[in-house]
């Protein structure tokens, strides 16, 4: 190797070293940038995941709220109306119950458009607050609005003369304790209300012990002349003596003990009543029953006292039996005891239509001395109700014959067909 080549080699080596150094620095610089870029990307993705998790949590909370509220409530923060806190609740509900009533009183036949008084068109507001773990305080406002009620419609006029406006059903407040019972003040069901009406057949909206409800405004026509003026109405000749019904009262109910509840109420005007109800489920059947005693001497001369009861049994097979009876008395009156008994055989099945239960029943009732001494009124009927469960709707049809025997008078039988629908909203 010559002396001239050594400096050239050194220069070449130095140049190579410089190149490597510069290249290494550039590579290191590029790698740091890439790592920084990756870190930024990871940070952004982490933020996106956190945002998505937050949105998911919100959606799950809203879904839970919808499920708890029964389904169609506006979710969480989008609600227009909220109660003041979690323990306060207001439920708004109601129903429309319209039907066509065909009647044949032996002299005349016609069809009326009616509101079925067995379960009238109505609107309800039910508020409650859970005051403590044991105590609930609440209010009920329930009003009905019947256009052409079956309680009022008659042969003489196709427009019923009843109140074409809201009328009261329940206007009450209550305090309810699981340990001490429920105290209720205001207009509403008395203790004995419903004592003649235990019924598990599911056909009660077109036929139950209050048999007159389907057409109580119609009058019996005199045989031969067809006259109806001054004659007894179906509502006047048939009564199921159902205690003190609804009224302005102070009512107390004991806590439910194994299905048994005892009740009493004191009503404006001096009426009072006592009742016991028992309702339970067994392995293969259900029982609902109620008995009661009512003293209405404060406001009525006859009957002053009523004792009655009813029981209904529903077997798993769908077969059901219902019976009811009551008697109204006044020892000082010239009137005979007023009484009735009623029986129903029914069947419930879901095998016919997939949309809901199909319910069938036949019934018979004897109602004596209701409008006057020695009156013997009897009735029988057929009922059918088809439930459309997801729509809150029941379609129904019923046939009933009313008969009234009265000494020194002859009335034609009255046949009716009532067909309609009750829609809960």
């Amino acid at each position: 190797m010559t002396n001239g080549r050594i400096p050239m080699l050194r220069s070449a080596l130095a140049a190579g070293a410089l190149t490597l150094t510069l290249t290494g620095q550039a590579w290191a610089q590029s790698e740091a940038d890439r790592i920084k870029a990756l870190e930024d990307l990871i940070r952004k993705q982490q933020q996106q995941i956190e945002a998505q998790q937050k949105a998911l949590d919100t959606m799950q909370a809203e879904l839970k709220t919808i499920k708890e509220s029964g389904g169609v409530t506006q979710p969480g923060r989008n609600r227009v109306v909220l109660s003041r806190d979690n323990d306060v609740e207001l439920t708004i509900e109601g129903q429309v119950n319209r039907a066509l009533l065909y009647y044949d009183d032996g002299n005349a036949q016609d069809v009326r458009h009616v509101d079925n008084d067995a379960s009238s068109t109505r609107l309800a507001f039910k508020g409650s607050v859970k005051a403590t773990d044991d105590l609930k305080i609440g209010t009920n406002i329930e009003v009905q609005f019947e256009s052409n009620s079956t309680a009022d419609v008659n042969q003489a006029d196709n427009t019923a003369g009843g109140t074409n406006n809201f009328t009261e059903r329940k206007l009450e407040l209550y305090a309810s304790s699981k340990r001490f019972g429920t105290l209720t003040l205001g207009q509403g069901s008395t203790a004995s209300d419903g004592m003649s009406e235990a019924d598990l057949s599911g056909t009660d909206l077109v036929g139950y012990s209050a048999v007159a409800d389907s057409a109580s405004g119609l009058s019996f026509a005199t045989t031969g002349t067809g006259a109806i003026t001054g004659n007894p109405t179906i509502g006047g000749a048939f009564s199921n003596l159902d205690g003190l019904s609804r009224d302005d009262r102070l009512r107390f109910d004991t806590p439910n003990w194994k299905g048994i509840t005892l009740s009493t109420s004191v009503v404006d005007g001096g009426e009072w009543d006592l009742a016991a109800a028992y309702s339970a489920t067994y392995d293969s059947f259900e029982v609902d029953s109620k008995i009661g005693f009512a003293n209405q001497s404060g406001t009525r001369t006859f009957p002053e006292t009523i004792l009655g009861g009813s029981v209904s049994v529903l077997h798993d097979s769908g077969i059901n039996l219902t019976a009811a009876a009551a008697q109204g008395d006044d020892d000082d009156s010239t009137r005979d005891s007023q009484n009735f008994w009623y029986g129903k055989l029914g069947y419930i099945t879901e095998a016919i239509f997939p949309i809901g239960q199909s319910r069938f029943s036949v019934d018979y009732g004897q109602y004596d001395d209701v409008a006057a001494n020695n009156d013997e009124a009897s009735t029988y009927g057929l009922q059918f109700v088809q439930s459309i469960s997801q729509w809150g709707t029941e379609l129904y049809a019923g046939y009933r014959r009313y008969e009234l025997d009265r000494p020194a008078a002859t009335f034609d039988d009255v046949d009716i067909v009532l067909a309609g629908a009750r829609v809960k909203f």
């Binding site: 389904g71 439920t91 299905g259 509840t261 469960s389």
Partner: protein, 49 residues
């Protein structure tokens, strides 16, 4: 007579109560339980928080 009848029915009810499970009564003629046309499974529009 009435008190005897009442006592008899209450005795029978108490005996039945020993083996039954209480169920909630739903009086005839009231707004039915269950879903409504416009509302959910429980029926009724609920305003709550």
């Amino acid at each position: 007579m009435r008190l005897r009848a009442l006592a008899l029915v209450l005795t029978v009810a108490a005996a039945l109560a020993a083996c039954g499970t209480p169920r909630e009564r739903h009086p005839v003629g009231e707004i039915p339980d269950g879903p409504g046309l416009l509302t959910g499974e429980k029926g009724g529009v609920k305003i709550t928080r």
